[in-house]
Amino acid sequence: MTGLAEIWVYLAREPLAALTATLMAWLAAQRLHRLLGRHPLANPVLFAVALLAAGLLWSGVAYRDYFQGAQFVHFLLGPATVALAVPLYRQWQLVRQSALAAAASVVLGGVFAAASGVALAWMLDAAPEVTASLAPRSVTTPVAMGIAEQLGGLPSLTAAVVILSGIVGAALGPAVLDMVGVKDWRARGLAIGTAAHGIGTARALGVNATAGAFSGLAMGLNALATALFLPLLWRLVIG
């Protein structure tokens, strides 16, 4: 049995095992997603994260060691964000016609996202640093962490909250949009991209090309608007 223990020590240290586990968890999550009829609630990001998180807790492998391997996947997030210009460009005729309405919806939606999170946290007497961590919840992780720091929040808590908001928005958002009667694919994309950033955009791209392009646009625009205005608004309101 010493052989097995040695193999385990080797695998836990090398990036190969973590990278392979990440891809295998994603394939399993995608298969489950298909098996459940591509229902939005069966979100593959949620499944894969839950599977890997449970694996780390069960095996006792530290997140930092896991990330040594998973960073190769994580790195592609940058070029993929740049690539969002492609669906946007393909839908440019449609976007251009509705640019002003789209921009207004995203900016007001972004303000609503921050205000609703802060108000709900306030109602429940959350600590000030928790409230500040919740304010930039709807924007893509690197921007949100920077804003949280400026507001006196905890950037690491913000990172967790941003990911969870993205999963909630991608999984439950489509049902909410059906409930309130939003049928326009452009509006559906804008709503998901504003509230659930890239994780929502990943879902929108898989459902409808127009929704995907508008979701990517909303994600970028919301990051820009929130980064510029939230710290100013925060100082005005909180003092």
Binding site: T22, L23, W26, V45, A48, V49, Y63, Y66, A70, H74, L77, G78, P79, T81, V82, A83, A85, V86, Y89, A101, A104, S105, L108, G109, F112, A113, G117, L120, A121, L124, D125, A126, V130, R137, S138, T140, V143, G146, L154, L157, A159, A160, S165, G169, L172, G173, V176, L177, V180, D184, A187, R188, L190, A191, A196, T201, A202, A223, L224, A227
Partner: protein
Amino acid sequence: MIPSLTTLLACQLAGEALGRALRLPVPGPVLGMVLLFGLLLLRGRLRGRAEVPDEFGRTADALLGNLGLLFVPAGVGVVLYLPLLARDWAPLSLAVVAGTLATVAFTGRLAQWLLRP
């Protein structure tokens, strides 16, 4: 595939450099997306051909087709904050779930109303 990936990385790199040089609060990849979009527009204007080059479009689609996967490593990081999440679970879950879904409903209705023909 390699020329396409190089273009994407070059746009990201230019975005990172620009963001740092001008001290913009926006991350490099988002600026890179704006740059790439500008390049595509310029190319369409100059060549009179509006389509994204085939090969480049395929690479972008391959990356974006698996966009969800790219969030998984950061998502697994939630395990680091389990104690913090457990301590403040009530405001956090209410803000995350109710706040996010209210935002979806608000933005969707507003956008549909503003976009009406």
